[in-house]
Every structure is written in C-alpha cells, then in structure tokens.
C-alpha cells in the first residue's frame, strides 16, 4: 500500500534531469521534498503524478503502474496541487471545490459531494469565500481554494482505499499563519489515513510539519529520513552551498535551520 518510485529517471533531450530515484510514500505520513533550485523537486513530483514519460523505472500506485489505472479510479486515489493554476473563468470558490468531486459524482453533485466541498473549504480557511468569484481572490486565497479542491477530490471513506496527495510548493504565496494552517490541514489528512508529499522550500516549515524529509540535489535523493537525520550542517552546506547552524528552541518543536553568517546590511 504505497505510492512508490522505483529507479525512476526522467530525461530531457540528452540530459538526465532526474534519477535514478527510489522513493516510497506511505499512508499516514507527510513527506517533504526539499532541495536547492533546479534539484528536480517538481520533476520528481510530476513523475510521481504520472505526468511524465519516464526514461527508466516505474511509478506504482498500490502496486499497479500508474498508466494501468482507470483515469477516474486513479483520480479518486491520487490528487495533485500544481505550483500555480490559472483559472480566469468566474466559478465561485465553492464551485471550484465541487469540481474536485467530479471523479466521484455521477451526473450531478450529491449532498455528500457538497458536504465534502464545504469541509474542504473549512479546512483551508476559505469557507467565507465560498460565493466569491475565483478570479477576484488574492493569490494566497486562490492557492487555498485550489488546495480545498484537491482535498475535496480525495475525500472518501478510508475503506475505499488509501489516498495520496501531492503538493507542489503549497505554501509559496501564503502568509505565515496560512503556511502553517495549510500544512496542518495536510497533517490532518495524513492522520486520517492519507499520504502527503509536499515540495517545500522552507526547511524549517518542512522540519515542523513533515514526518520524513527527502533531500534532493542534482536530480538524486541525497538523504532521506527524519528531520533530525536530514537537516545536518554538512549536508546543507554541500547541497545548498550555505553554512548553517542547527538550533533548538525550548518549547518550540525544531530543529531550526539558521544561516550561520551574519548578513552584511551596510554595503
């Protein structure tokens, strides 16, 4: 029971942009994919989502290759939140969340679909935006409504199978409070038996909300494990090219990654 990448490679022209990568995402966990720009984080997410033609290896969802799944069946198990979505048509926020229900709905949405959409809006703090036209929302509000859409997509009783949620930089356009709110919603989804893989830039956010981290550099997984195992000064210096100290703060869950050198503001 997992979403797994086995020896996955992605090639662009003659260059290998990813891999070989082995990675397993299991129900109940939040896995954060971290790494410097250009490390292949989004490419890995796209590969796991079944969007890319793989140069080698395969991606298995519950043991079955992704392209062997019925599209609607797959959509009930696996949802993806892209980095940015442009929707210029005036659906309301609620209608956007309801669109997430389409793999479940027959001809029209049922009361259960509507309930799932509302619950998802609550979870992303967008319930009050339900009747607002999507194009009039701010960037952060749009991102949260899109997250509500994928949460609604995967809302189903656990006995109907495990569900996998892939988030590509879900916190990119959010304020501090909503960054945590969104990742808490992801954590809740995992506690209810879902699996979450999130590409995150902020190592501290990753350490705080993920059970496991996978550090990517040069298209390969350099290290994976608990935040304490992955967030080591030597690894971070090697991959990000930045000297850091790892700190603990009494009473606040850590570890904390802090740049070691003082920024020179005078010049």
């Amino acid at each position: 029971m997992s979403l797994s990448a086995n020896g996955v490679e992605v090639w662009r022209g003659r260059g290998r942009t990813l891999g070989p990568v082995d990675l397993v995402l299991q129900p109940g966990e939040v896995l954060a994919v971290v790494g410097p720009n250009g490390a292949g984080k989004s490419t890995l997410l796209s590969a796991l989502a079944g969007e890319l033609r793989l140069g080698a290896g395969d991606v298995l969802l519950e043991g079955l290759p992704l392209d062997r799944w019925q599209p609607r069946e797959r959509a009930r198990r696996l949802a993806v939140l892209p980095q940015e979505s442009s929707l210029g048509f005036s659906f309301t926020a609620l209608e956007v969340a309801l669109l997430g229900r389409s793999p479940h709905a027959r001809r029209r949405e049922s009361g259960a679909d509507l309930e799932a959409a509302y619950v998802a809006l609550e979870a992303t703090d967008t319930r009050h935006l339900a009747s607002r036209p999507y194009p009039t929302l701010s960037g952060g509000e749009k991102q949260r409504v899109q997250l509500a859409r994928v949460l609604a997509q995967l809302s189903a009783p656990l006995e109907q199978g495990h569900r996998y949620l892939l988030l590509d930089e879900p916190t990119a356009s959010l304020d501090l409070a909503h960054q945590h709110l969104i990742l808490e919603a992801a954590g809740r989804f995992a506690r209810e038996g879902g699996a979450v893989l999130a590409v995150l830039h902020d190592l501290n956010l990753a350490a705080r909300h993920a059970h496991r981290l996978a550090l990517l550099a040069g298209g390969r997984v350099v290290e994976q494990g608990t935040p304490e195992q992955v967030l080591r000064p030597d690894l971070i210096a090697e991959t990000f090219g930045l000297d850091v100290v790892i700190a603990e703060w009494p009473g606040v869950p850590g570890p904390w990654v802090l740049p070691a050198r003082r920024t020179d503001l005078s010049s």
Partner: protein, 362 residues
Amino acid sequence: MSTSGIAPVSASFPGRSEVRRPAPRAWMLLTLLLAVVALASLALGAVSVPPSALVGSLLKALGLEAGQTLSPAQEAVLLSIRLPRVVLGVMVGAVLATCGAALQALFRNPLVEPGLLGTSSGAALGAVAAIVLDVALDARLGGLRALAVPVSAFVGALGATLLAQRLGRGEGRTETARILLAGVAVSAGASAGIGLLTQLATDAQLRSITFWSWGSLGGASWEVVAVAAAPLTVALVLLLREARALNLLLLGEREAWHLGVDVERLKRRLILAAALGVGAAVSATGIIGFVGLLVPALLRLALGPDHRRLLGASALLGASLLVAADLVARTAAVPAELPVGALTSVLGVPVFIGLLARRRTV
C-alpha cells in the same frame, strides 16, 4: 442514503444557496424567446403572413377546425422560402454559439471564436476551393456533388483549427496573444488562398464566392437544410455531451487530467466536433462572425461559467440571435438585403473589444 446525505448539509451549511442550481428557468425563457423570434421571422417580410392565419393553418394541418387560414401564395412563401431559412438559422446559430463556448473552454480563453481562430476562414477556403475546382469534379462525382462543398469546408475548418491550436500553444500553456496571432495568421493565409482562387473563378462562381465572405441565410432551401442538418446536429450533440469535461478543462489541462479526464482525447473530440459544426455552418451560410463570441459572453454574465448550464443556453440564444439578425437583414432595407454576418459583427465587435480591454493579464 442520498436523502440522509442532503439533510444534514443544508442544516449545518446554511449557505446552500451558494451553489448555482441548473437553469431550467433560463432555458425556458430562452426557448420562449426563440419561439417568438422564429414566429416573427416566419410572419414578417416582403409577403406578409398574418400570425393568426399562420396558427390557423397549423391547426388545420393537425386536423383541427380553424378560422382564418393562409392563402396558397402565402403558404408557398412560407413553406419553400421562409421555413427552411428559419430552420437553417436556428441550426447554424445554435452550432456557432455552442462551438464558440466549447472552443473558449478548450483554449481556456473567452476571446476565442471560430471566426477569430481561423476555423471559419479555413472552412470558407475549403468551400471556395470546392466551388472553383467544381469544373473538374462535377462529372465524376455525380450525386455526391452536393456534398463536395460541405466536405471540403469541414477539411478546411479542421486544418485551420489544428494549425491555430499548434501555433497558439507556447511552452505548455496557451496565451491570449499567441492564440489571437495564430488566428490572424491562419485567417490571413486562408484569405490569401481565397483571393488566389478568385482569380481562377468564372463569373457565376465569383457570385457564390462573394456570398461566403459576409455570410447570408439567403441561400437557404430544403436541399441546403438537408445537407447541413446531419453534421450540424451531430456536432451539437457531441459538444453538449462534454459539458462536465469542459468545466474541468477550465481548471487547466494538467488539473483536468488529474481529475480523471483523458485530456488528449477530449481535445481531439472537441476540435473534430467544432470543425464539423463550423464547416457545415460555413458551407451552408458563409462566414457569420461573432455569434460564438457574443452569445457565451453574455450568458456567462447571467449564468456563470458552468457548461452544464452554458452550452444548452448558448445553443438557444445563438439560434435566436441569428434568426433575429436575419430578420433585420432582410427587412431593414427592402428590397436590398443586408449581409447578416455584418450585422452579427456590428453586435459582436464592441463585446470583443470590451472583453479585451477588461483582460489585463493571461
């Protein structure tokens, strides 16, 4: 299960009215509008047909007792001239508006229209080519000759739409500027082709070529209706069936794929259906622009973007618009007849400019 599922929702979520329900009332109003416009179009014109006599004759045809009925001359005008014209107007208007709505979803852009995309000019090029090359073809084709123009219009529409779609896509996403430029390029190419073919045309062919450039329902007859009816109906049905998938497509192709839509197949079906519809429409009436832009744009303001409401409403309003425009075209400047495509453009261009001005990004 389903009823018990609904009850707690309305209790715990008082905002249930936030969901826009399907629009049977809007559809009923639009159907009524279409009936009124169609009756007016049957009644008005050079030979006046009083509506009471029209109704009387209809009742008589159904075997009922009727007061006033039509004279044989009125009946002839009605049956062999006005009725096919109204029927053709209804079908072409419905198809153009629905194709517009569907193509806008495909390109995720409310500015797309068969006329702007090059679909219509591609169809016109195909039709003109068939007319000009007719000399070489007619002897061998025999009875299939009537189909030569519609078939080559379909091929032209398909080719132009595919070309515009390829050109309009940059780096995985479609951008307004690219689409419009691609449409301009495809249209310009088709116009050039039509211009060159015109040089080869005889006088008689020239007259029917002129007809394509502005569009008119003046060529309507039961033969034209018979040839166009099947492809127009098929295109309409194919497009109406995709309402849900079109909604998902608005989110983005990647998002739609993750919601279980086979996006590549859907795109192929949409382009084929649009080319079939526009090809049949253009081969029957010439290029009638902006119906596909105007109608969905107005209806989105009233009904929102959900295609389960929008597509059917577009078909109804598109039919009404074209029949009404044709009524004006043939009665405003009697005995002259205005080109109906010019009338729809007069209505459509300000809407297009308004949409363009309002859109700052994407």
